[in-house]
Point group: C2
DNA sequence: CGATATATCAATCCAAAGATGTAAGACAAA
DNA sequence: TTTGTCTTACATCTTTGGATTGATATATCG
C-alpha cells in the first residue's frame, strides 16, 4: 500500500532566502514529496496555501514582517486539513508551546539534521504529530509549570470552608443568577438565599457577588465551565 | 561520569499484585535501580514516599481504591523532587493529559516492552520528561482540540462591539470593582461609569455586572488574569 | 443529654446597582 | 460642513443587593 501513496505536496515559507533554497533542494531530492511553492513572505504563503492546498507547510516562525505564529493561526482557521510544521532557530519553550497550541503538527529546529526534518514530515504526513524528544521535554516543562503556579495559589483555599449548600449557591452565582433565580432553582425562599450569600461573602472575604464569583473561578471552583490558557 | 552515579531509588505503586511483582523483578534485574518499596495501596504508597524519598515512583493510575491521578497530585504537592511515572493500561488521551498536567514526568503503557519502561526511567532519572512517541501524538491531539473549540466559540464575539473605553471599564469590572472604584481609577465621574456599564450590558446582552464579567471571562477577554484548564 | 453546625425564614434599613432620558464637547469620516 | 460615534456628565426613579439581627428545626457529635 505504501508504494501507491501519492506524493505529499509541500509549501515552504521562510523569510531567509538561502535557507528556503536549501530546504527546497533537500526536499526535492526526496522522491515522496513535491514542493508546490516556496516564498519568503508569510502573506504570500497564506495565499499560496489557499490556491494550491498543500498537504504540508514548512513554516519559519521567526520572521520579521509577519509573525509565523500568526500565519499558523490563519492557516488553521482555513480548516483545509493543511498540516503546518513550524521551523525555528530557537528551542524556546514558549515558542514551542504557542506553536503547538495554535495547531502546528510539528516543530523542528533549523539546526537539526535534514534526516530529522524528513522524518518529521513523514510522521506528520501520516497524520501524526511530531516533536523531537528534546523539544517534547521542553514543552512539558513549560506546560507543567503553568499548572504548578496554579496549584500553588490553590493551596490555602477559602472555598474549603463553604458548606455543601453554600457551594450550591455559589455555583448558581457563578452562572449569573440573582437572588430570585437561585431561590427558584433551589426551591427555597429568597431571604434564605440572602443568608447563604452573606455567609459566603464572609467566608471568602469579599464584598459582593462579583468578587465572590471571581474568587471562585480563580481558585479552582469548577462550575462546569471549561477554561483556557492565555496565548 | 555515568558509572559513578548512584543508583536511583524507585518506589512501585500498583494495585495489581501480579503486575507489581513482575515490575519489581524486572527493575531489580537492572543494576542502576534500587526498589525501595512496593505496595498495592496508593495511600500507603504516599506514606512510603514521604518516608523513603525515592527518586522515582512508578504509579499505576487505574486503581479502584484511590485514584492514581489524585495520588500524583498529592505527591507533587509534597514538592520533594520525586519524579512520578504514570503506568496505565490505557492510552486514553484524557488520562495522559491529566497525568501530565498534574506533574507526571512520564506515562508508560503496561503493555509496552520492558525495555521501554527502563528507557523511560533512564530519561526521567536524568531530569527529562518522557512520553512514548505514540502517546505524545495522542496528547497533542487532545491538547490542540481543547484550543480549537475555544477558537470556534470566540468567532462571533459580542466583545468586539465594545469601544476602547468600554473595554477599560469592563476590565475593571472583571477585577471586582464597583462604580466608585472604576470612577476613581479612570478619573471620571461615577455617573459616567454608569453610562458605560449600561452600554456594556446592552452590547453583551446581559442584565447585570456579574453576567457581564462571566461573559467576558468565557469569551477570551484576557483581563491580565491567567486562566486554566479543568482537570 | 447538651453543645455545635447547618439550613431554613423574616423584618428592617441603607447602599449600590440598573434603567431611562438628555445633552455637550471632541473628533473623524463622509 | 454635516453626520456620526465616542466620551463625558447629570437627574430621576426603581429594583436589587448587602448588612444585621433574630428565630426555628434538624442533624451530628461527644
Amino acid at each position: 500500500m505504501r508504494e501507491f501513496k501519492r506524493k505529499s505536496r509541500v509549501l515552504l515559507i521562510d523569510d531567509n532566502a538561502d535557507h528556503l533554497r536549501g530546504v527546497k533542494e533537500l526536499i526535492t531530492l526526496e522522491s515522496s514529496y513535491d514542493v508546490v511553492g516556496a516564498t519568503t513572505s508569510a502573506n504570500i504563503g497564506i495565499n499560496l496555501a489557499k490556491k494550491y492546498r498543500p498537504d504540508i507547510i514548512l513554516m519559519d516562525i521567526n520572521m520579521p514582517e509577519k509573525d509565523g505564529l500568526q500565519a499558523i493561526q490563519e492557516i488553521e482557521k482555513l480548516d483545509m486539513d493543511i498540516r503546518v510544521i513550524a521551523l525555528s532557530g530557537y528551542d524556546d519553550a514558549d515558542l514551542i508551546f504557542r506553536a503547538m497550541k495554535l495547531g502546528a503538527k510539528g516543530y523542528v529546529l533549523k539546526t537539526m539534521a535534514s534526516a530529522q526534518l524528513i522524518y518529521a514530515m513523514d510522521e506528520v504526513a501520516s497524520g501524526k504529530i511530531y516533536l523531537p524528544t528534546a523539544l517534547t521535554s521542553r514543552f512539558f516543562e513549560y506546560f507543567q509549570r503553568s499548572f504548578r503556579e496554579e496549584a500553588a495559589t490553590t493551596e490555602e483555599n477559602l472555598l474549603t470552608y463553604l458548606t455543601a449548600r453554600e457551594e450550591e449557591v455559589l455555583d448558581l452565582l457563578t452562572q449569573g443568577n440573582n437572588y430570585k433565580g437561585i431561590a427558584g432553582k433551589l426551591f427555597i425562599s429568597e431571604t434564605t438565599v440572602k443568608t447563604h450569600v452573606n455567609n459566603i461573602f464572609q467566608k471568602l472575604q469579599v464584598n459582593d457577588r462579583t468578587q465572590a464569583v471571581l474568587y471562585a473561578l480563580n481558585n479552582g471552583f469548577a462550575g462546569r465551565r471549561r477554561s483556557k490558557m492565555a496565548v
